[in-house]
Symmetry: C2
Subunit: 189 residues, 2 copies
Amino acid sequence: MTGPRPETGEKTGSMPNASAPEMLEAKLWGNPCPFAFRLNYLALLYNTPLYEWIRDSYGLSRPEYVVLYSLALADGGSARDVSRTSGFPKNTLSRAIKRLELMGLISPREKAPGGGRKQALHLSRKGWALFEETRPAFEAQEQRMLTALSEGERQILSELMSKVVLAAREWAGELPAETRLVTPGEEQQ
Amino acid sequence: MTGPRPETGEKTGSMPNASAPEMLEAKLWGNPCPFAFRLNYLALLYNTPLYEWIRDSYGLSRPEYVVLYSLALADGGSARDVSRTSGFPKNTLSRAIKRLELMGLISPREKAPGGGRKQALHLSRKGWALFEETRPAFEAQEQRMLTALSEGERQILSELMSKVVLAAREWAGELPAETRLVTPGEEQQ
DNA sequence: TCGGTCAAGTTCAATTTGGAACTCAGAAGT
DNA sequence: ACTTCTGAGTTCCAAATTGAACTTGACCGA
């Protein structure tokens, strides 16, 4: 998604502070898709330092941690469930799950090798411990992100975004045909 | 973002429709970071079909199109500006820019090879044409995404998100030390 | 019960990605 | 003017990502 990056201050450039003010202003105020930009930009600023930290401190990749987190919220979920709710392709998750199992963070799936249908995944005690240990950092980052808003504003923001999410089946998925067909010259390259 | 995915309906699993209701419900209503989840989920649902379409129709990768789009909004910006406002690492963008130049979508940078300091980038006529041709699809997707909201609600949503973005320098960047130090066992793996 | 269809999960291979090291142009300091 | 410092952009290469094909269990209808 999306997103990837820095740490000590100058690796990728996702640092919000200092400069790039021109382009940032343009993307904020002169953007034909202002909402989409805010979405992506905030997601980036939120995710980047957290997953960087997870990687450096625990040696877990982003998809791996996403699986852990997903199972902590919905124990017994399948790889497919995680894929649907996180956007990672299923083969990436397959590998992530295998490694989590190897690391002892997911309890071993009985009978599976070969590719069975719908496997319910469960965190091991160690997996739960890791989740509990790391959760506060995610919560803290969310709180930090929202400090600019009052309690009431957060309420409203949450409500509006929920509305958009709940209507997702109406708008997400494939692009409408008319949109796609705007392009006469398909298939170059 | 980071982000990536489906098309004909069953490639990655980011399809919002049909199933995974359990886990989706849990992530929506039982999440310690509800705002962050909505952010990521919406960004995913928005980006995925668009960049899929860009790739299939124009042969441009996501970072490549991001550079194009960024320059369309802020002509004369540098690679670093794009990196700061998009989150892609600079080497990825360096490659993207090189290819865009090769494809004739970016006007050739005079004197550069070797690595000069701060190069102002400009779209070529062809680059502008491609942007204008593809922009409607992005706008349409944003509109589709917001259909669930009234005009007033969109106004409020935009305002609240802007607030959070503008306060970014306060909260984004490195994780606060206390948060990081929660972990006693650093450096495994 | 058999054959057919579907989809979850895996494997493989080719591409893409991004961390690290490097080059080098301006800026800063003396 | 000379040296040092800073940081934008590039190159390299190991690692991660993912599209495509495959395997296999589950479900369905006759």
